[in-house]
């Protein structure tokens, strides 16, 4: 009977060891898969960077201008092409910054300064 018991025990231990190894190998495979995925993720990330750089390179204003000149034959946008809709309404905001409107007709008292006086003051200082 002892033989059978020992045999059974050996079998149980062997099978559980075998199972353990199998699980271990399975987990190892999964880990490898994760590593591969991480790798390809970072690779794709780098590729996206390359694409972004390329996109930005292709969209250089300099290049767009050359292409526009070639295919669109349009002039540069000019201030003459732009108008403010608000300009036509009464509520338009002139955005004056507290400037007193002197107008052209305002009388001005000119103050003439003699050169001699200026030079003398500078000398005396």
């Amino acid at each position: 009977m002892l033989n059978l018991k020992i045999l059974m025990l050996t079998l149980v231990i062997s099978f559980s060891l075998l199972g353990l190894v199998k699980v271990k190998v399975y987990v190892q495979d999964l880990r490898e898969e994760i590593t591969d995925m991480e790798k390809s993720k970072s690779k794709v990330g780098d590729e996206i960077q390359v694409l972004k750089a390329e996109w930005s390179n292709l969209n250089r204003p300099e290049r767009i201008k050359i292409l526009a000149d070639k295919y669109l034959k349009l002039n540069n946008v000019n201030t003459k092409n732009i108008r403010n809709l608000d300009e036509n309404s009464q509520s338009s905001n002139l955005r004056f910054t507290n400037v007193k409107n002197e107008g052209i007709s305002v009388h001005v008292n000119w103050r003439y300064k003699s050169r001699e006086v200026i030079l003398k003051t500078a000398k005396d200082r």
Binding site: V23, A53, R111
Partner: protein, 572 residues
């Protein structure tokens, strides 16, 4: 002994069939073999236990590092963007090849092969490298995918690839002096790459925190560069500078220094190209400086808008005669002094306010110290200390001689003069909560805006753009050559603000050593060469920044900016 006897017992009970008839076999030997195998299994079980239970989870860090090339860590720099998120600098994957000379058996043949693949590598050099007793030598860094394929197909033993990263600048030369560049080892060597080196290299969980957002704008930068290039070509200038700055917060929107270089190909850049004239160049700016002298004079209260000065004859000072370029006889009002850029007039104004006041005003406008722009290339102004100022120094300074400053100084100080007297630190960072110093009175600033507008409206009309009410001042300075001012080498510039009724931007355009053309009637002064470029830039840029021409209220706006400037017409 217990174990042994147990096994003996166990074995005794097993019927060794094949030993049945061979009584003479020594069972002791069988035991020895048996014990040996049991021992082996025991060891294997222990190892199994160790691997499956104890070391089931590998070291996370080690795991994470297993596919990162440690040599390229330096290149994990943050990206650099313009104010709208356009890429200015980015890291790209590259391949480099290296060799392990210790495992290379016939270095000479391999060197020959490599020299054939890479024509710019010398055979002699390669052979020397491959014959050394090192375990690692670089063959070539950052090779092209095509070269990588060829080397791979050759399958040379002892030659390996290393994948790394390198910095790329998709905008090419456009931002060369602002963004700068990095060296082979990933250290920033110039511009923002150098100034923000630590920041760009800092490691964060979220990579976005490493990114740098500049205040500059790709389209504006491109327009400024394009127009400057045209001007450089037209006037055969040695170089040019264009700076566009938001005067409400000090942010630099565009900054170009020509000639520039392609940061993707640093090895072919010359020293002249690498030099950032806009922030590192020191120039005597000439009449542009009258803006600052005038602001100081008006701010002191000694000089009023309607003062009139005698400019009939040249002014004598310290053995020199101060003359006017466009000589006007008789008397000139304050606005006229700026309009006709009268040296005689501004010299008297400087003498009137006194050198102490003049010096202090220039100083408080930030013109006598380094700018605090976030670039390592910053000019230290060159000037004479106030203790050594004579009247002649004061006069020369009043129209921009004897003080050398960078173009950025000019745009910064003009911004302060025009925006209510607030001096902002110039910055290349977007949304940097910039602080300001009140350096002149708001009322002075209002007068200065009117004066600058008057200059463009009735004087330097070449910078005028309809509906944008550009204000500005030209400047032409002869360059000193071996201590003597040259008659034909000059720095011609134009500083402008727009729109004058509510200034948002300051633009400074400077041409280094422009030559006159037939179209400019032999003139190469700021008003002739820099003002038209200013106009072209403003015309194209205003629409980008939502500055809409105000045509309907033209009269109201012009009236609000008008100053009486002609004493003759009124008094006579």
């Amino acid at each position: 002994m217990g174990v042994f006897s147990y096994f003996k017992n166990f074995l005794d009970n097993i019927k060794f069939g094949f030993l049945e008839n061979k009584k003479h076999v020594n069972l002791g030997r069988v035991y020895v073999v048996l014990v040996f195998f049991i021992f082996c299994y025991f060891i294997i079980s222990l190892r199994l236990f160790d691997l499956t239970i104890l070391k089931a989870i590998p070291d996370e860090q080690e795991f994470a590092n297993s596919f990162v090339d440690k040599s390229s860590v330096n290149f994990d720099r943050g990206d650099i963007f313009d104010r709208n998120g356009e890429l200015l600098a980015v890291n790209l994957i590259t391949t480099s090849i290296y060799a392990n000379p210790r495992v290379i058996e016939n270095p000479k043949t391999i060197a020959k092969k490599l020299a054939k693949i890479f024509p710019n590598l010398e055979y002699k050099n390669l052979a020397e490298k491959l014959q050394s007793d090192k375990a690692f030598v670089w063959i070539k860094r950052n090779i092209s995918p095509k070269e990588e394929l060829i080397v791979n197909n050759e399958g040379i033993p002892g030659i390996y690839f290393r994948f790394g990263k390198r910095r790329a600048y998709p905008q090419g030369a456009l931002f060369s002096h602002i963004v700068g560049y990095v060296g082979l080892d990933g250290d920033g060597l110039m511009g923002a790459e150098s100034y923000f080196d630590k920041f760009l290299k800092s490691r964060h969980e979220d990579r976005k925190l490493q990114n740098l957002h500049l205040s500059l704008e790709v389209r504006a930068q491109s327009i400024v560069r394009e127009e400057l290039q045209k001007a450089v070509k037209e006037f055969r200038a040695k170089g040019a500078v264009g700076i566009l700055q938001d005067i409400t917060n000090g942010e630099v929107i565009a900054m170009v220094s020509l000639p520039d270089y392609d940061p993707n190909d640093i090895s072919s850049a010359t020293e002249h190209e690498l030099f950032n004239k806009a922030t590192l160049g020191n120039y005597e700016v000439g009449s542009v400086f009258k803006v600052f002298t005038m602001a100081a004079a008006l701010d002191s209260g000694i000089v009023k808008l309607h003062d009139v000065y005698d400019v009939d004859t040249p002014l004598k000072s310290g053995g020199f005669y101060i003359k006017d370029f466009y000589g006007k006889k008789g008397w000139l009002s304050v606005p006229q002094i700026l309009m006709y850029s009268s040296n005689i007039g501004i010299a008297q104004i400087a003498l009137e306010i006194g050198k102490e006041r003049q010096f202090q005003a220039i100083k408080s406008l930030g013109l006598l110290s380094e700018t605090e722009i976030e670039l390592p290339e910053r000019a230290v102004p060159v000037f004479r200390d106030i203790s050594r100022w004579s009247d002649t120094t004061s006069i020369a300074a009043s129209y921009g001689y004897g003080i050398s400053i960078s173009p950025l100084h000019v745009s910064m100080a003009t911004g302060a003069v025009a925006n209510g007297g607030r001096l902002f630190t110039p910055t290349i960072l977007k949304d940097a909560d910039n602080e300001y110093k009140q350096v002149i009175k708001k009322s002075t600033s209002d007068k200065m805006r009117k004066l600058l507008r008057t200059v463009v409206r009735f004087g330097a009309g070449k910078a005028a753009v309809e509906g944008l009410y550009v204000g500005g001042k030209s400047g032409t300075a002869n360059k000193p050559v071996n201590g003597v001012y040259s008659n034909h080498l000059r720095v011609s510039s134009f500083v402008s603000i727009f729109p004058s009724n509510d200034p948002k931007y300051v633009l400074y355009v400077m041409l280094d050593e422009p030559k006159s053309t037939k179209e400019t009637f032999g003139f190469a002064t700021g008003g002739w060469v820099a003002a038209p470029t200013t106009k072209n830039i403003i015309k194209r840029i205003a629409t980008l920044f939502d500055i809409v021409p105000q045509i309907k209220q033209k009269e109201a706006i012009e009236n609000s900016l008008f100053v009486q400037y002609n004493p003759k017409s009124i008094s006579s």
